[in-house]
Subunit: 221 residues, 2 copies
């Protein structure tokens, strides 16, 4: 009755002769080969059928490995999804951390915020199915990995742009609408285009960065 599934530690190796704590060694050759094969198969299955309905059993079968192998490599469905997201995500992070302005450093914080939200919408739309999967998965995962990086980045910019705000909360609040499922809903049922969504967020960000110039309670009507 009730829950039963526990979580595998997504084994990340350790060589025998070096049991030094905190020194993860590279994967064994067969493990690395399987990881690549699984990712490759999963990616092509998603390209063909969409991300909604991938079964990990099926992925394992097509990849020619046991189910256990998939789970040992990636922990669970969310882990595999995260791995599929990883490539583009790394590129995206580079672009706002070290790329050219207005996304990267060099532009005023307010502009970077708008540029970041704009790019983030694009990012999510580019892998909408995968992000939607992520939101469906275990609670821990959703606010893991990419989300945390995005949050730190946005909160830092907000701290510069509006010194009287709570940047952590505000970053959560601005990140919340950039959500694969909400965006899909806005497109399908509200008839909005991606451009309109981006414009709406940009304006919201502008209003927010301007509006938080005054301390709490200072602008009460």
């Amino acid at each position: 009755m009730f829950s039963v599934y526990k979580r595998y530690a997504p084994t990340v190796c350790g060589r025998r002769t070096l049991p030094l704590i905190g020194q993860p060694q590279p994967e064994r050759a067969d493990a690395a080969r399987n990881r690549r094969k699984i990712i490759e198969v999963a990616a092509s299955m998603i390209a063909e059928h969409g991300a909604d309905d991938i079964s990990l059993d099926e992925v394992a079968r097509v990849a020619g490995v046991g189910v256990g192998t998939v789970y040992r490599r990636f922990g669970d469905r969310a882990g595999l999804v995260l791995a599929l997201i990883d490539d583009r995500e790394r590129q995206f992070q580079e672009s706002f951390l070290t790329g050219p302005p207005p996304l990267g450093p060099g532009a005023p914080a307010a502009e970077r915020i708008t540029a970041f939200l704009d790019a983030l919408v694009g990012r999510v739309v580019a892998q909408q199915g995968l992000f939607a999967q992520l939101e469906k998965c275990g609670k821990t995962i959703r606010y893991s990995g990419p989300y945390r990086v995005h949050h730190v980045h946005l909160a830092t910019l907000l701290a510069q742009a509006c010194p009287n705000a709570d940047p952590a909360f505000l970053a959560d609040a601005l990140l919340a609408p950039v959500n694969a499922r909400l965006i899909a809903f806005q497109q399908e049922e509200r008839g909005m285009t991606i451009g309109e969504i981006k414009a709406g967020l940009a304006r919201l960000a502008t209003v927010v960065t301007c509006g938080y110039g005054v301390p709490p309670g200072g602008s009460q009507r």
Copy 2:
């Protein structure tokens, strides 16, 4: 391969002698009895073990009905969750549609917006587990039922408070952070209290309603 589950139409009855379209008749006595029994059992199981791990098989077993019956009554897991949410939701809707100000009619729109978001956070927190379940379920459900009502209400108020904004988009954007899983994350990992979350939203709403006084582009720094 890939998806297989189709969706039952959550049978809502129809009497034989009155096949008039659009005139749904009350449920048969046995059906109504089972619906009540299932809800009752599910509610008590959730009260005891939390909402995360209820198995519909288990609910069916304890309620003394077949699994098929559960699915015929409620469509799927999300449908049952929605039913469990329904009572309080109706009360909540009454309170902002016809209750006393500032939540109900009578107060200025800006105040009602703040009051509404405040109450909504309370609402979500009161059944956090169930709302979290809902977000995990099929995409159609998440933006169904309660969400749509909340959205219409908030968009209406926003249309009054900030005539230059896109109320539909803005309502989505303000509703997005009021999210069971985000709130849980903010509590657990950011160490925020519900009071702080409510305060943050209230301030955001104030800034937004004030900031959208000017047309798009008008307040560019």
